[in-house]
Assembly symmetry: C2
Homo-oligomer: 369 residues x 2
Amino acid sequence: MSEVYAARRTRLREYCNAGGSAAALVSRPANVRYLAGAAPLGAVLLLGRTEDLLVCPGSSADRPTQERPDEALRVQTLPGADGGDPAVAAARLAAGQGADSLAVEEHHLTVARHRALGSVAPRLRLANLGGAVEQLRVVKDEEEISCLRIGAEIADQALGELLESILVGRTERHLALELERRLVDHGADGPAFPTSVGTGPNAGRPGHRPTDRRVEEGDFLSVCLGATYRGYRCEIGRTFVIGTAPADWQIELYDLVFAAQRAGRESLVPGAACRDVDRAARQVLDSAGYTEGLTVLTGHGVGLEIDEDPQLSPAAMGKLDACVPVTVEPGVHLPGRGGVRIDDTLVVRPEADGGPELLTITTKELLAL
Amino acid sequence: MSEVYAARRTRLREYCNAGGSAAALVSRPANVRYLAGAAPLGAVLLLGRTEDLLVCPGSSADRPTQERPDEALRVQTLPGADGGDPAVAAARLAAGQGADSLAVEEHHLTVARHRALGSVAPRLRLANLGGAVEQLRVVKDEEEISCLRIGAEIADQALGELLESILVGRTERHLALELERRLVDHGADGPAFPTSVGTGPNAGRPGHRPTDRRVEEGDFLSVCLGATYRGYRCEIGRTFVIGTAPADWQIELYDLVFAAQRAGRESLVPGAACRDVDRAARQVLDSAGYTEGLTVLTGHGVGLEIDEDPQLSPAAMGKLDACVPVTVEPGVHLPGRGGVRIDDTLVVRPEADGGPELLTITTKELLAL
């Protein structure tokens, strides 16, 4: 694995050098992990002029991470309790290596930390690294996709087991906790995000936080969960009906959201504009009259964070590349009645390779449980 | 409750006006919640020259919070999906109200957001609010303490039930998940922080993340958990031995940490220097030869965040006030063998009121389970 991290750092270094900075300071945790193999709490990565360094706070010795940093990388742990801010120490080291310019993540560093960097190394020009590491992270290698694939399998298993149990009378909170327990049972590091379970009028509400409402006959039940596996986060969402037979309005709404989600999935090809993928899903709902209350996004990238670039939204810029994992997750929520959301994680693949790779394979038939 | 939030905002406004700023922008979520009663994802609070406003991102309509903002406060939700950054909108509003200076939280705002504020309202002088809201939050009112007390009761219940179950053969991860399920069962919003369960050589490691190691006869078992109740977070940590009788070294180590923790607890009086509380606990461990590998803090404040001011550490400045809730949590970890950590949440109270109020009342006897 060490070569992978070294290659990522080389790409970033080339980017920085092209922008006129001899050194870069990476502070956003997911970015540190991407380049260093691990991100101890509070650690920063210095891509230095002469050497790269993972600078860790003194307190990190108390809190070891499960992951180990790239062995090719020197790790410096600041001494003692009050060794100070690793970003400040890194700026001092960068200056000591003779760098005259340091690119920092202005979208992550606070104003107060940025000022502290400036005052400890006044001759160092602070430039902006921007979202350069986030952009490197968009296209995944097969190792990363394999972590996502295993995470999706785990989420499918947890969801499948829940469907075999008795649901009526149980609360949203309990179902969510049971799903999270099952994720860990099957080998997840933990949930990728707080598990959402919505019943009846809560079903289909995006980001719904589970309440004490109990599952009743005739309810829609919507579930959204994901596993973190070796740091990589995936997502699956399904909607079911409780009881023997769904009502007509439930079948109609389900079929509509299913058609929207399929349209989104089928438009996932390398080179497609992100806004066109969004439009493919959104216009199915629009043309059925559901223009109000739609969510901002119909999908987003996933990886070391659950919400990464690209964004699938009407205002999104840019195009999809092969090997970019995204969610496709349109939904409709009718206030007071509930709704439907269907959410998959897929990897964009060229048609010659069989088209988009579906990672979350739980059925999307409307199951009556 | 509305008067409580209004009174908090008045105190902050007085602080700002004294510093020469007519308006303040609060962006750190726990601070927004403290002053506004709720903190929808991404929302910021403007203390304006003529009116206060809670400015919410367009996407917050998708994700309602369980808490409702103070009714006396006007809420403005930015239109549509791409309504932009609420902080930028708030700066524009502040300028529109005729403010010439806006105090912002430089320890929370990123450099990129700060710059966006400056460019949207170039005549507005951006000042630094610093940790003013965090300082207001240190001393709690009885309503806040009552939330912490209920949270502590919930954590005590969850822990008590776990102790009655069979532990040998179960993994750290499972025990941690079961504790979190029980917290929610008993009415917590959720865990206050990721529950830590350490067995054998992992016992007593601060911030240990649960692994697949199973509980064995003769192990130390250390558990650290907490409940969030109405946003307030408490903490309890206990260490047990598994089997019929603890070994001599286990009894000795336990007695030592217990003595250190008691010394810390007993020094919690209004007016005590934070570093003296730390020293009281730390010197018990020091004098027994455990100088290496001690944690940075022997305790910290709790409230809307699990790690607040004051810090109980050798370098801490400042003194304790009455009605400040803190943890006291010294521990010793022997690499390869395990260790002991004992952690309580208490409220500093004057001696006339009975001295420090212990919120987490689970026994601190060395139980053999």
